[in-house]
């Protein structure tokens, strides 16, 4: 099905099932420990051996010699695979650094060997006996030091390296009010709770991998390419995924090493990346240095806005597109952005929840707050004054929907924003200095092809199959809701099977595109199935109404199951998009409000209240969507206050590479969170009229926290995370 024109009334608009806060259909499995994750598939294949990964102990250089004798002789060891014994390997199109290193080492903890043994304990013990002599090379590990030797990167999905409209330089100099500030964001880790894990089994030259991956088709394709085998010979299965946040978008070392280990051992092998290996072995959100310049009239209207960002990556890696929202969020006639990329020898940087906007909004939304200080205008009012209903770079191109102003106003009213004291450092609650902060939320909505297969059986049950994944997003549930709405059956009559490369290729989970596109693909397949059923039952498919488990037209009604009387009816289709995404700018909007307390003596920062108001198209399931947003708000608090992969600039690694050292928010860090969606349907996005929410929720949160800290204390911190040491020297401690 091609989606070329604005959606009109369709069966989804009945909202009998869609739009309801249905509990997750897989909830009883997840809460009883019976939803099987990758490493747990004792049921799929017998005789599984255990692989333990050895990671490189240098950040850059090569292996001079590797001695496996002691490890091979250790009890229970079946085989050890290194680059020497792996055979010729290719590299997946979406991997920058090779997944198996040696002799060249691209980054710290790059996998260099997998030790396979009969038990986990044996494999782990033997892995400690692998002896490697390294020759250390000179690596570049310091982004700030490389700032002057950067390159101009090729355009990415996030945009070109340079953009310009009007004459930024002159307009900025001429502006009566100017802001010029530089911000930094650190490297951050996904730290999803389920480690990357895979079980691989060969049957002749056919390979099956039970894994934990957000993008099944990408994974299968890159696995085949890496091993140099036909794509048809690789099957990936990933029905439950214990979190991803971008860290499981791509083929990672667990998949490759399980496959290589299984081939060498001649039996199935399972591999989970050890937690302390994950932070340096896999990808991370790259650190940025961002310079923002804004020129404004005294009434607050922005006349010039410029955003430059520097980030680093391994060669072949891409920059963090931190400037991308600045091209679209606020009005202003004169604009520029620039993205520069340093080559670093740290682990590979890549997508993490809202890549680009997450780090960009951390900086931009502090900058707006700093402009507030200069102008003496309310932060909510200043943002509203600079709203634009058109793409500022292409004024003929409208936003399909843009309720930023409504989000800000609604949020301000609900949060009690009018009670905020504009002068920092004035509000005390016992030993706490109390402040409020606001930030806009912004993230683009991406449309991409997505396919599904739908089956009707003789019991009137509908089964959906698609390689779409559920990484905690609620895919199972919203897909079931979509099929139930389309076929006119109750939710209990729908079965959903996900995450298998044998199923039609979906959009997968990433870039907050999963919800809208995957359900639109199911909509397309269901539309086709409705036609097949109508034909079979002798109805005019235009007039047939699918409701209450029956098909009806005029006064004739036939139970749906009858259509499958002679055998299952199956339909497969995909949603494909025309150029509505070019004609209109599709984005999602929100506003974050945060209240913090800062201990007047210790500078300890506590988040006291949080509210997000979001406008993101039709909300297919308000319960699951709300969870996506509060989860993102939580991650935003982490970004604001604690998350920081600390770089050892001598040895080239992230030092705090486990869950004790890399701090993420825990229960005690997060208060009750309020979150509301504004009413919105976006007929430009898809027949579902939905958009993404999962990444919108993180964009701006950290800046709202930072702005609240400033309001509480008067201290402006421009280097994330905002830890108490950065406040202490400024606080008037007596």
């Amino acid at each position: 099905m091609r989606f070329e024109h604005s959606a009109t009334f369709n069966p989804i608009d009945q909202l009998k099932v869609i739009g309801h806060p249905t509990s997750r259909i897989e909830g009883p499995l997840k809460t009883t420990g019976t939803a099987p994750y990758a490493y747990e598939r004792h049921d799929v294949v017998a005789n599984q051996a255990y692989g333990y990964v050895v990671g490189a102990a240098i950040g850059k250089g090569r292996i001079a010699a590797i001695d496996l004798d002691a490890a091979k002789a250790a009890p229970g060891v079946l085989t050890i695979v290194t680059a020497d014994s792996a055979g010729k390997l290719g590299k997946g199109a979406r991997n920058a650094a090779p997944l198996l290193g040696g002799p060249e080492i691209a980054h710290y903890h790059q996998a260099v060997a997998v030790v396979v043994a009969g038990t986990f304990e044996q494999a782990r013990a033997a892995a400690q006996l692998v002896r490697i002599d390294y020759v250390k090379g000179d690596g570049k590990f310091d982004l700030a030091a490389e700032r002057d030797s950067v390159s101009i990167p090729d355009p990415t999905i996030g945009g070109p390296a340079d953009t310009a409209v009007g004459d930024f330089a002159s307009a900025f100099v001429a502006a009566p009010v100017q802001l010029d500030a530089t911000y930094t964001t650190p490297d951050q880790g996904h730290a999803m709770m389920e480690p990357h894990a895979s079980i691989a089994a060969w049957d002749g030259d056919k390979l099956t991998i039970w894994t934990s991956n957000q993008m099944i088709a990408w994974g299968a394709e890159d696995m085949a390419k890496t091993l140099g085998i036909p794509k048809e010979n690789v099957r990936l299965v990933s029905p439950h995924i214990g979190g991803g946040f971008g860290g499981k978008l791509f083929l990672r070392a667990d998949v490759l090493l399980a496959a290589l280990g299984a081939r060498a051992a001649g039996r199935p092998v399972k591999v989970a990346l050890q937690r302390p290996l994950m932070f340096n072995n896999t990808t991370h959100r790259p650190a940025t240095i961002q310079r923002i310049r804004i020129g404004a009239e005294r009434d607050g209207r922005i006349t010039a806005i410029g955003h430059e960002s520097w980030s680093g990556n391994v060669s072949e890696g891409e920059p963090d597109m931190a400037v991308s929202q600045t091209r679209l969020l606020y009005a202003g006639a004169n604009r520029m952005t620039a993205t520069r990329l340093a080559t670093l020898d740290l682990p590979e940087g890549n997508a993490m929840r809202a890549p680009g906007e997450a780090s960009g909004m951390m900086a931009l939304e502090i900058a707006i707050d700093e402009l507030v200080d200069k102008l003496g205008i309310d932060p909510v009012a200043l943002r509203i004054a600079n709203d634009t209903q058109v793409d500022p770079e292409h004024p003929k191109r409208r936003f399909s929907q843009r309720q930023l102003v409504q989000c800000l106003n609604e949020g301000a009213a609900r949060f009690g924003w009018s009670k905020r004291n504009a002068k920092p450092g004035q509000v005390r609650d016992g030993r706490w200095l109390v402040g409020m902060g606001v930030a806009a939320a912004f993230r683009n909505n991406l449309v991409t092809k997505s396919a599904a297969r739908v089956r009707l059986d003789q019991q009137g049950r509908v089964t959906v199959e698609t390689d779409m994944t559920d990484i905690g997003t609620g895919s199972y549930t919203i897909i079931a809701q979509t099929a139930a709405e389309m076929m006119g059956v109750p939710l209990e009559k729908v079965g959903v099977r996900l995450g298998d490369s044998d199923f039609p290729v979906s959009c997968g989970s990433g870039g907050q595109w999963g919800g809208n596109n995957s359900t639109a693909g199911v909509y397309a397949a269901c539309t086709k199935l409705r036609e097949t059923i109508a034909q079979k039952l002798g109805f005019n498919s235009e007039e047939a109404v699918f409701a209450d488990g029956a098909v009806r037209s005029g006064n004739r009604s036939v139970p749906l199951a009858h259509a499958a009387g002679a055998g299952d009816l199956v339909a497969e289709d995909a949603i494909e998009y025309g150029d509505l995404a070019k004609t209109y700018q599709q984005s999602t909007f929100g506003a974050h409000f945060v209240e913090v307390g800062v201990d007047a003596d210790t500078a300890e920062i506590r988040v006291r209240r949080m509210l997000a108001v979001c406008a993101a198209g039709r909300i297919l399931n308000p319960k699951a969507a709300r969870s996506q947003v509060i989860g993102a708000m939580t991650m935003g608090v982490g970004a604001a206050l604690m998350e920081d992969l600390v770089v050892d600039k001598r040895h080239g690694l992230f030092v705090n590479h486990d869950l004790a050292g890399y701090e993420v928010p825990v229960h005690a860090d997060i208060p009750h969170q309020d979150m509301i969606f504004l009413d919105e349907t976006d007929p430009i996005s898809s027949p579902m009229k939905a958009k993404g929410v999962a990444e919108l929720g993180i964009c701006g949160v950290a800046a709202a926290v930072a702005n609240a800290v400033h309001n509480a204390t008067g201290v402006r911190v421009r280097e994330y995370p905002i830890t108490l040491d950065k406040l202490l020297e400024w606080l008037d401690v007596d």
């Binding site: 909830g27 019976t34 747990e40 986990f120 214990g242 050890q274 937690r275 969870s627 991650m635 997060i670």
Partner: protein, 169 residues
């Protein structure tokens, strides 16, 4: 190798185990009770929380052979998809999870937290050691802080636990 036997969810199991086997791996790899999760294997995340003789512990931080004769309850022992424990049902109702990987640990912890409060066991944030312990917002969040949820379902988890405890979060 060493012999050990303990009860899991009311059933006695005999093992002959590599002495290096953690309780977590005994459950997951030997009994195939994979509801208990491995998030870090280092006592840093709480995904492996189980209840041993009424007390919650990180099962990755204890060796199986240390549990001769113990009574162990895992997530599978609390309820089943058709007969959910009240906390399991509350997690579903309040969407106290997303990816579900931390969830068994959160639920086992929550079961134990409610018991700890009932037994009057104080925590780091208990202000009055002589008064009966009350499950305030601060108490609940402090006691649950050993269970990381990277999906960030904390606010909903607090509501689920509070609903079962008969209070508001």
């Amino acid at each position: 190798m060493a012999k050990v036997s303990f009860d899991v969810n009311g059933e006695t199991h005999q093992f002959e185990l590599d002495t290096r086997t953690t309780l977590l791996d005994a459950l997951r790899e030997h009994l195939h009770l994979t509801g208990t999760k491995k998030g870090c294997d280092h006592g840093q995340c709480g995904a492996c929380t189980v209840i041993v003789d009424g007390r919650r512990i990180n099962s990755c931080l204890t060796l199986a052979v240390m549990h001769q004769g113990d009574e162990i309850t895992t997530i599978e022992g609390l309820g089943t998809p058709d007969a959910l424990h009240p906390l399991q049902a509350a997690f579903v109702e309040h969407d106290g999870y997303q990816c579900g990987y931390c969830t068994p640990g959160q639920i086992c912890s929550a079961v134990a937290v409610l018991a700890e409060v009932k037994a009057g066991i104080p925590s780091h944030v208990t202000t009055d050691l002589n008064a009966p312990v009350r499950l305030t917002n601060a108490e609940l969040r402090e006691r649950m802080s050993g269970n990381i949820c990277r999906c960030g379902a904390y606010s909903n988890i607090a509501e689920a636990i509070s609903a079962v405890a008969g209070r508001s979060a």
